[in-house]
Each structure stands twice: as structure tokens, then as C-alpha cells.
């Protein structure tokens, strides 16, 4: 339906909408957290690993920051209008109008 109503470019841009970005951010934070937890468990079993690796920590912090920015900041309303401004900058008010 999305690509039926809108052009391919518009449809691809859709994946930057707040709910999708929230999903990516949440997954990224989850990956970082899981990595840290696994490392903690390995360390507990005597393995010689640092608990907070740089990629895992960055993923966790960036993911959480995005979740806050997108979802907690007025339930994504602000992000939605930023998303729409981006759309207008590229396609004005939409193709076929």
C-alpha cells in the first residue's frame, strides 16, 4: 500500500519515521546491553574480558539517547515534525498533489 500510494523514494523515506527509528534505536540499545551482560557473565566465569567494550557501550548509550529523544520527548511528536520537515525539504508537499 505504501509504495502503491507513494513513489519509491517517498516510500523509502518512510523508514525514517519516528516509530521505525525508535525500533532501530531500541534494538541497538538492546544489542549493546546484551553484549555487556554476556561479557559480565564471562568475566564472572574467570575469562579475561573487559565488561564495557567501546562498541557495546556506545551502542547502549546511543540507543538509549535515541529512545529518549524520539519517544520520551513528547511521545515522538517532535521527532515526527522533524521527519515531516525532512520530507518537505526533499519532495515539498508530496508527489502527485
Amino acid at each position: 500500500m505504501l509504495s502503491g500510494v507513494y513513489t519509491l523514494g517517498e516510500s523509502l523515506y518512510f523508514y525514517l519515521n519516528p516509530t521505525n527509528v525508535l525500533l532501530y534505536s531500541g534494538v541497538m540499545a538492546q544489542i549493546g546491553l546484551c553484549e555487556i551482560l554476556c561479557r559480565k557473565r564471562l568475566a564472572g566465569q574467570g575469562a579475561s574480558v573487559g565488561i564495557f567494550s567501546v562498541p557495546a557501550t556506545v551502542a547502549l548509550l546511543l540507543g538509549l539517547a535515541s529512545v529518549v529523544l524520539i519517544f520520551v520527548w513528547d511521545l515522538g511528536v517532535h521527532h515526527f515534525y522533524i521527519f515531516q520537515q525532512g520530507f518537505k525539504a526533499i519532495w515539498k508537499y508530496g508527489i502527485g498533489i
Partner: protein, 466 residues
């Protein structure tokens, strides 16, 4: 000196101020300027009326106690209905904020005024009824939600322009910064509906010689449906029954997350109803002030919504589609000097594009040919007045929502919907199936009425009348 009279000028007595004004007018006319001209007498022959138009956002037609809502109480709207005419078949031409608002202002369809979705900018060449009223000697104010894309315009013919731009022009329920005549100004009241009412009352209270026109455009009851603090739990104990066709997971499906309704629908619905009660209370405050000022009799008050709203009907939320819940709006007109049998329900089909011609007609001003709506004055005067045989509905793409562009024709008995892409046509008998659940396309009953409906749709789309 001010009272000194110039005897003999134009063979009648004249005050110095009047004489200067006359000389100025003649000079200006000779220089080719178009002067503001006073309108002829109003439609009832009396002093030109004041006008208050109150527009709400996403207020569905059946959410008023006047039309029998099971628990929402709206005494102020009921009062307007008891003292005026309630139009029970009022519709928008496009069920979306920006196009509908532009249609109210211009008396035109979206395809004509150009604001086809919430992204297309307002065109300054559009002429609003406020501009025409101003040219005819009215003091005018636009207070509230403008919400049309593009920069806030220098709206011609508006003396006082109070609006907001935050959240894409949707505004905020709490502490919403305002733009007052182009200047950013903090809100005086915490809650937006109260702030807009305060400013409207201040405008109405101003001492003036001219009649006034107030366009009060509320944010309520749009998403995020936030009521004021004192009404937050008003309907906590009410058992909400949602439509039977509603899938509880619909908010997570088909792009509906973008409507911002995460969480239980009943929670949002209660908030919606509470925000509505708050708005009704503020309308009451404005009406009471009119009474106190002695202005009620010669002031036409019109209350309307910009479009309806789905709360699970057709397994939908939001608006846009051509079903009744989205296209049907509350519409009440009170004007004691004109409506001789108040408390009446009008069954004729009317549309948002009828507002502008109606107000001009009542004020005794010629209706521009470009306006596509019709004056409702005959219906306000008489129950027997003829109404439309059919109305046209149109919806255009509005990114990022997945609603396909479509158009529809609605008569008193049927509705036919044609989608540009993605969905097959739909046909409903709205008398026997008011919930529009049984698509009659391909059935013998449907085949019987389809040719006429298709013909009507084509005629209306091409600008004709049926």
C-alpha cells in the same frame, strides 16, 4: 471645534469630521483606490450582526449530549442548539485539518483553494470571508489554530491575528507559546482552550462602532487529547465500549502508530471526551459574556468541527476516509434575529464550504462567484427550504499516511466511494446500514443505484451541481 457644522455643504448639515471624511473619500475615489464600502442592510434588515465562528478540531458530530451521546455532557453546545439550528447532516469536503480549515475560510473545495493536504501551503491569493467582511466595515480577529503549511501569512483583512506554530502548527495543550500579531508571546493561561477563550472575550469586549467578526479556532480536541487538570479523571469510572469491529492491536498495524495513539484506546478516548467537556465549558464562558454585554441577540454564533474522528469504527483510527465518522461534523447556528423557531434540527445536507457564503449573505454582502458553497440562510429561515441532493467528498495523498486518494458522493440514502489506487470502489446504503459495513458493489441492490451515483460523482467533480 469638533461640533462645528458646515452648513450648506451637499445641501445638508454635516459635522467637520464627516465633511473631512467625505472629502477624503472623494479624493481617494478619484485617485482610483477601492474604498471600504459599508454593506447593505443585513439579511433581516436590521443592524449588521456581529459574528462569532468557533471551530474545533477532530470533534465528531455525535459527541454532544444534544445528539444523545451516552455520557459526554456538552451543555453549552446544547444551549446553542436549543437557541438555534442544529444541522445533523453537516459534512466536510475533505476530512483533514488544513484542507478543511481553508475550505471554511474561502468557501471553496481543496482542489480550488489549493490546500490539498497538511503539507501544501496556504496561498495568499486566496480570499477569506474575513477579508471581505473587513472591506465591508467589520472589525476582525483570528484567534487560535491556523495550522496551514508555510509561513504564518499576513492574513489580509484581519485586525488581530493570534495563533501558534509549535509542533507543526498543532500547538500544545499546556503552556503553548503564541504568535500575537507576529510577535512571540507566552500564554497567559496554562491551558490552551482557556487562553484562546480569554483572548476572544477580550476582543469581544472592546468598545467599537463597527460590527465584529471573531474566528475562534480551538486546538481541542485534537491529539494528544489532553484535558485540563481539573477534568483529568472525569470519566475514569465510565465503562467504554469500543466498536465491535475494532481489533485491539489496530494501533500497531498498517502504519497506525504514526497517529500517536500508543497505549489503550480507551485511555485516549476518555481524554478526548474530557478535553471536549473542557472546550464546551469555555464556549459557555464566551456565551455568558455575550449575554452580560447585551450582544447575544445581534450576534450570530456558529459552532463547527473541522472533521470527525474514528475511534475503532471500520477498524480505523484518525480520520481521512469518506466514512460517516470522519466526514460528518457538528454544526450549530444561533442567530436569534433570524431564526424564528429555535431548537430546530435541520436535515438538509450542508458542507464546510457553506460557512463563508452564509456569513456574507447574513451580513448583506454579495457572495463572490468563486465561492463554491451556498448560503444556508434559506434553511435558517425555514424548515422547508431545499437542500442539496448530494455532496462531494475528496481526499488527496497526505504523507506519510497510507490512505489512498479517493473521492465520494453521498446522498440522503447512499454513499459511493472511488479510490484512485489500492482499493476497490465501495457502495453503501446509509439508511439501512448506517455503520457502512456491507459493501453493495456487485450486488443487485448496488447495481440498481450505481449508475446514478457514478453520474452524480462525475458531475460534482467537474464542478456541476446535481
Amino acid at each position: 471645534m469638533a461640533d462645528r457644522r458646515f452648513e450648506g455643504l451637499f445641501e445638508r448639515s454635516m459635522k467637520r469630521r464627516e465633511a473631512l471624511a467625505t472629502l477624503g473619500a472623494v479624493s481617494a475615489a478619484l485617485a482610483g483606490f477601492e474604498l471600504p464600502k459599508p454593506a447593505a442592510a443585513s439579511v433581516n434588515g436590521s443592524k449588521r450582526p456581529n459574528i462569532i465562528f468557533i471551530l474545533s478540531d477532530d470533534h465528531r458530530w455525535d459527541h454532544m449530549s444534544a445528539v444523545g451521546h451516552p455520557f459526554v455532557t456538552t451543555p453549552s453546545m446544547d444551549r446553542l442548539a436549543n437557541e438555534g439550528v442544529l444541522f445533523e447532516n453537516a459534512f466536510v469536503t475533505t476530512s483533514l485539518c488544513s484542507p478543511s480549515r481553508a475550505s471554511f475560510l474561502t468557501g471553496m473545495f481543496a482542489r480550488t483553494h489549493g490546500v490539498k493536504n497538511n503539507l501544501t501551503p496556504w496561498q495568499n491569493k486566496n480570499i477569506t470571508f474575513l477579508e471581505i467582511l473587513k472591506k465591508n466595515g467589520y472589525d476582525t480577529a483570528f484567534i487560535g489554530k491556523w495550522h496551514m503549511p508555510g509561513a504564518i501569512p499576513r492574513l489580509r483583512g484581519v485586525d488581530e491575528f493570534v495563533t501558534f506554530t509549535v509542533q507543526g502548527g498543532q500547538g500544545r495543550y499546556y503552556n503553548c507559546p503564541l504568535i500575537v500579531n507576529g510577535v512571540q508571546t507566552p500564554s497567559g493561561k496554562e491551558y490552551i482552550t482557556e487562553e484562546l477563550t480569554d483572548r476572544s472575550i477580550a476582543f469581544v469586549e472592546k468598545k467599537r462602532d463597527n460590527p465584529f467578526c471573531l474566528y475562534l479556532s480551538h486546538k481541542a480536541v485534537h491529539h494528544q487529547f489532553l484535558p485540563p487538570r481539573d477534568l483529568r479523571h472525569l470519566y475514569d469510572e465510565v465503562n467504554i465500549s469500543l466498536p465491535r469491529e475494532m481489533d485491539p492491536y489496530v494501533l500497531f498495524a498498517d502504519g497506525n502508530l504514526l497517529y500517536g495513539l500508543l497505549g489503550p484506546v480507551a485511555f485516549h478516548y476518555r481524554n478526548y471526551c474530557e478535553a471536549l467537556v473542557a472546550m464546551d465549558r469555555e464556549i459557555g464562558r464566551l456565551l455568558n459574556r455575550l449575554d452580560e454585554l447585551g450582544l447575544a441577540r445581534n450576534t450570530i454564533v456558529i459552532y463547527a468541527g473541522d472533521n470527525g474522528y474514528f475511534w475503532g469504527e471500520h477498524n480505523l483510527v484518525d480520520k481521512r476516509y469518506a466514512y460517516e465518522e470522519a466526514i460528518r461534523i457538528p454544526y450549530i447556528v444561533r442567530y436569534p434575529d433570524l431564526i424564528k423557531n429555535p431548537g430546530r434540527v435541520a436535515v438538509q445536507m450542508i458542507q464546510n464550504i457553506d460557512l463563508a457564503p452564509t456569513l456574507l449573505d447574513i451580513a448583506g454582502i454579495d457572495i463572490p462567484l468563486a465561492m463554491e458553497g451556498v448560503s444556508l440562510v434559506p434553511i435558517l429561515k425555514s424548515t422547508e427550504a431545499a437542500g442539496r441532493k448530494a455532496i462531494l467528498y475528496e481526499y488527496f495523498r497526505d504523507y506519510p499516511y497510507r490512505v489512498p486518494p479517493h473521492c465520494a458522493v453521498r446522498t440522503h440514502t447512499h454513499k459511493y466511494i472511488e479510490f484512485e489506487i489500492g482499493r476497490q470502489p465501495e457502495l453503501y446504503d446509509i439508511l439501512s446500514d448506517p455503520g457502512e459495513r456491507k459493501n453493495l458493489m456487485g450486488t443487485p441492490e448496488g447495481e440498481k443505484v450505481l449508475p446514478e451515483l457514478k453520474g452524480m460523482l462525475e458531475t460534482l467533480k467537474s464542478g456541476g451541481s446535481v
